[in-house]
């Protein structure tokens, strides 16, 4: 009797669940369609840091992006650019790459919005999951909560502007909450019993002077030299 009851409950709920999943896909599809014409862009970025243990002046750079995932930042000076969430990539959330869960429907900044949870099907880098807040009126991602396996967490808020008929980020605000890295060197005795400290703060990236669909060549993204002088293992593009 119990089994029959459970069967009926599941049967009643499953269309709801399927509907929610379809909705979730639809929101990502809408974003993909909206930016289907975007092939590349160049923008000038200013990175402002507000992290207690990261005392740096504003950094200026030129950012190059080309579909599907080519990116390069170029600066005459030393530059620290956020790896996750620092730039706009409309191809980042392809529905076939994620398990998508619809979380809620609500109002964000006076517009209709939904919240989706995206879990990568294949582990890329250390991303555990994304929670996206999508403005369904404009079909843009307004917020993104990124959780990583190593305890790193980040909240990304994006403000858009109209550039060459595309809505592209004018300002990206990243709120970081990451575990403080400690070397394996000698630790003070009380450090061993203390809970590891976390680094928190914000990074604000302002975008300006967009050049959209200028036909960027792939060669721009080719590694001509290592990003950090001295032959570091890190690259400029990804």
């Amino acid at each position: 009797m119990k089994k029959i009851l459970l069967f009926w409950v599941l049967l009643l709920l499953s269309p709801q669940w399927t509907l929610a999943q379809e909705d979730a896909f639809r929101y990502l599809d809408s974003i993909e369609r909206k930016y289907a014409g975007l092939r590349d862009y160049i923008a000038e970025v200013t990175v402002h840091f507000d992290i207690e243990t990261f005392k740096a002046p504003d950094m200026q750079a030129k950012l190059y992006y080309k579909v599907p995932d080519k990116m390069k930042v170029e600066s005459k000076r030393v530059l620290f650019f956020p790896r996750e969430g620092g730039f706009f990539n409309p191809s980042l959330f392809k529905k076939e790459d994620f398990e998508i869960k619809f979380l809620e429907r609500f109002t964000y900044d006076g517009a209709k919005a939904v919240k989706l949870k995206l879990t990568p099907k294949k582990i890329k880098r250390t991303i555990q999951e994304f929670v996206l807040t999508i403005d369904t009126d404009r079909n843009v991602i307004r917020e993104m909560d990124v959780t990583q396996f190593d305890g790193r967490a980040m909240k990304v808020s994006i403000e858009y502007g109209k550039f060459d008929s595309f809505e592209l980020p004018a300002r990206i605000l990243l709120k970081l909450d990451i575990p403080s890295f400690e070397s394996e060197g000698v630790k003070e005795f009380d450090q061993l019993i203390q809970k590891p400290k976390r680094v928190t703060g914000t990074i604000e990236i302002t975008y300006s002077n967009y050049k959209v669909n200028s036909g960027l060549s792939d060669n721009i993204f080719k590694e001509t030299e290592s990003s950090m002088s001295g032959g570091s293992p890190e690259g400029k593009s990804r």
């Binding site: 930042v73 990451i178 403080s180 890295f181 001295g230």
Partner: protein, 281 residues
């Protein structure tokens, strides 16, 4: 003034004086060449806490970074090089039997000891300045210029100094380093007035510096309470403060004053000991 230049001439006529300069050239050349060859490893280790979160580009391993990196070892090897001369200022005369000859000349004992002390300070300033010049002049062609990233090893902690500010900050840091090292010279000089040969003052000074450095770094509450009373605490920190954001002027003035008081105290003790010293050699 004539006496001062005479002492300078005497000091720089000895081959021992040039050991320190030669050693500095060797240390800097070796360090910078090795750093150039293992640049990737250095940057990887240095930037490890940041690489998960940031794409990093630009000339991080530049001459200023290398200079600051080598300066970090300043409190270990420079004191030893200083004692070679400062520890020999008075005891060297006693050892070679010329102290009696020096003292029968018209200048008073007070003038002689003051002149010798000033010569020790001049040598200290010259050695640290030379050290700075070698670091920068070799570093610039090897590594180029750029913004300085001051990083506390193994921690998510960084101070980013724009290239335009660096020459002045490095200059101030080296002036602070000279001031710090004068305390080591003063200790060696004091020991030199007490001894009849140079070995004692050299070993004695190094013993004091090493013991103080160890005590100042032991992670125990007892030694932590001792830290404010050890001159090495201020000696190591003083120059590093010029590479902080913002520059903690109050702390710098305080450290400089404490080191200055050490210098004055040590010199006065040496002064009175020398004035009352019974010359038996």
């Amino acid at each position: 003034m004539k006496l001062f230049w005479f002492e300078i001439y005497k000091t720089f006529s000895r081959w021992r004086t040039y050991i320190s300069f030669t050693v500095i050239v060797l240390i800097v050349i070796l360090t910078e060449v090795v750093m150039k060859l293992s640049a990737g490893e250095i940057i990887y280790r240095m930037m490890r806490p940041f690489q998960k979160d940031f794409l990093i580009s630009g000339n991080i391993l530049n001459a200023w970074f290398v200079t600051a990196f080598i300066m970090n070892s300043l409190h270990i090897h420079i004191p030893f090089l200083l004692t070679l001369v400062a520890g020999d200022m008075v005891s060297g005369e006693a050892n070679s039997g010329t102290i009696r000859f020096v003292l029968i000349r018209p200048p008073s004992r007070s003038r002689i000891i003051t002149t010798k002390y000033l010569t020790a300070l001049f040598y200290t300033a010259g050695l640290v300045t030379f050290f700075g010049l070698v670091c920068v002049s070799l570093g610039l062609p090897l590594f180029g210029s750029g913004d300085l990233i001051v990083h506390h090893y193994g921690k998510f902690d960084i101070a980013f100094i724009p290239e335009s500010e660096i020459p002045l900050r490095i200059l101030l840091a080296f002036l602070a380093a000279i001031w710090s090292m004068t305390v080591v010279a003063s200790i060696a000089f004091l020991f030199s007035t007490l001894a009849e040969n140079s070995i004692g003052p050299i070993i004695g000074t190094m013993a004091v510096v090493i013991v103080f450095l160890i005590f100042g770094n032991l992670p125990l509450d007892f030694f932590r309470t001792l830290r404010p009373y050890l001159f090495t605490t201020y000696m190591v920190n003083l120059w590093q403060q010029f590479l902080n954001i913002p520059i903690p002027w109050q702390e710098i003035v305080r450290s400089a004053m404490i080191l200055g008081l050490h210098n004055a105290g040590l010199f006065l003790i040496a002064f009175f000991i020398f004035r009352r010293k019974d010359i038996k050699s």
